[in-house]
């Protein structure tokens, strides 16, 4: 098992490296750098060059990448070009916000989707089945930002039940209740897509499992329907659904980008957009590195969960 893990990680390293190289190439290829964009345009060319030298932007691209890579090996992600803070710090201060929101959304999605999917499957063709399937499909089809704007419209502006944006109310003492109020709407929107997909997936997985022979055996043995469904069928049906969980890991960052924009949530997604607009390449490289690592870890986690849940699967 350990050998397998190590082998997977070794294979993944070149891919992660490739991602960073590709990102770097694209950033270099883009017209204009941060000096052109953010610095006072009336400065003389010489002054601008001096600033560039200061930031290390005047060196050859390959050299710049090499410097960055060397830093990463030593745990240093470089400094943001915008405010000279270490990249790790800039990402770190936003990470909590995104992580919190994403985990809340993930939990919400799964806690709703799995029961609904199971009940949908056990009462196939009922109104509940059709209704929840329709809702699931709608959740998957609606654009996140539109859903978000719509929720803001109803709950924040018309009904005034919830705050419009941000993570906390200014000037008010930090409280969990306040945080929760701010988090509900973005979490709902973020969870929508996953909730819809997982519901459909759970439902079809349950339907497959329930048709199998061992379920017939259990029923023939006289096991109560409740046990048949919730103990025997569910455990097997959940296997593919659980493995899906691992694959959601990279979405924790990506999916939040739009939602964070709509709700002004101060997270990594907003940071990414700011970094892109300002060509702040150390931050971008750091974020991409993080996401690539998450993709790899997510895949590994998914496989590990799969082999843990299904005794028939074992990796050598």
């Amino acid at each position: 098992m350990l050998k397998y893990l190590i082998r997977r990680i070794l294979i993944a390293l070149p891919v992660i490296l490739g991602v960073t190289i590709l990102t770097f190439i694209i950033i270099q290829a883009a017209p204009g750098d941060i000096v052109d964009l953010y610095v006072d345009p009336t400065l003389s060319v010489a002054d601008k060059q001096a600033i560039r030298a200061n930031l290390g932007l005047d060196k050859h691209p390959v050299v710049q990448y090499g410097i960055w890579l060397k830093g990463v090996m030593q745990g240093d992600l470089g400094n943001s070009l915008v405010n000279r803070q270490p990249v790790a710090v800039r990402i770190g201060e936003r990470m909590g916000a995104t992580l919190g929101l994403s985990l809340a959304a993930l939990a919400l999605a799964y806690f709703v989707a799995i029961p609904v999917g199971v009940i949908s499957a056990t009462r196939q063709y009922s109104w509940l089945d059709y209704g929840s399937s329709m809702f699931a499909l709608m959740f998957v089809s609606i654009p996140g930002f539109f859903f978000g704007i719509g929720l803001i419209f109803f709950f924040s502006l018309r009904l005034d039940w919830l705050p419009v944006s941000g993570m906390r109310t200014l000037g008010v003492e930090k409280s969990f209740g306040d945080l929760l109020q701010h988090m509900i709407l973005p979490a709902i929107v973020l969870s929508a897509g996953t909730m819809g997909a997982v519901t459909r997936y759970t439902r079809s997985s349950m339907l497959d499992v329930v048709r199998q022979d061992f379920i017939r055996t259990a029923r023939a043995k006289g096991v109560t329907e409740r046990l048949v469904v919730y103990k025997h069928a569910l455990r097997n049906a959940l296997i593919p659904v659980i493995t899906l969980l691992g694959l959601q890991l990279p979405n924790l960052l990506g999916g939040a980008i739009i939602i964070e924009s709509v709700f002004m949530w101060p997270g990594m997604g907003r940071l990414a957009i700011e970094a892109i607009n300002s060509r702040d390449y150390p931050v971008l490289m750091g974020l991409n590195l993080l996401t690539a690592v998450l993709v790899v870890v997510g895949g590994l986690l998914s496989d590990m969960l799969y082999s843990a849940a299904d005794p028939r699967i074992r990796y050598s």
């Binding site: 950033i27 089809s141 654009p143 930002f145 704007i149 999916g255 892109i276 607009n277 996401t291």
Partner: protein, 298 residues
Amino acid sequence: MSIAKKLSPQAATPKEPKSDKNYVLRRFLRHKLAVVGLVILTVLVLTAVFAPQIAPYDPNKFDAVSMVDTPTREHLLGLDQVGRDVLSRVIYASRISLSVGVVAVGIYVIIGTVLGSLAGYYGGWVDIVLTRFADMFLSFPQIMLILVIVSMIGPSIWNIMVVLGLLGWPPIFRIVRGQFLTLRELDFVQAGRGMGAKDSRLIFRHILPNSMGPILVAATFGTATAILTEAALSYLGLGVQPPAASWGNLLIQAQSTTVIEKQPWLWVPPGMLIFISVLAINFVGDGLRDALDPRLKR
């Protein structure tokens, strides 16, 4: 008549008669939702194609006459913040939003099918190399990469089509490759080979046509995703640039709470249209998938 076709020696027919097009069509039509979706899509496509005839006003012209910007009988969806007719803009936007989806998917279906056929048919190191290549693409953090690339090469509708097209082929690749691996071993292919058919003939006339089912389903769902992605990118300002209208960038106006609350006619129509289009596509995709599934016995 179809039976005669199946028995004729020239036609290289698949094992299951279920892939006969009429049968699939009949099964599709039994799905009410799928049919509804298809109708909706047809309406949308026709609106997009005939936009110049249907739209009441020029989407870029400012109306200097009207007093108010709320919906009136002259302007059914009101005016936007600079005075353009919203309905016309939304109609013209459908051209862009829908076409981005179709073109992007078209690109990556072609790429994925070609690569998948090669990998699945020839196997060996061709397969290994191509599959690793596809895995690499799959491991990329998709959204981040799209954002970075699009913002770097400049936001425009063509760039988005190309980027989405170049990044979306691995799932199609996998499907086609899987189909080829399965179908390659079947009798009718072996028979063709035995009769001396060239590789290209086998690929294009025999195996590929029988793989179209899953490809079509994947392409349909892919279009839905592509439309959503374009909308999101345009909303972030990284997609279609104003004054050109796409449903996504029409929603940019809804970033202020005043607009959200007081001028819903600005953001509700484009958002709803994205929603309805994607929903319709998903209906059709579901119907297609069920109609093409050889295992379903309803």
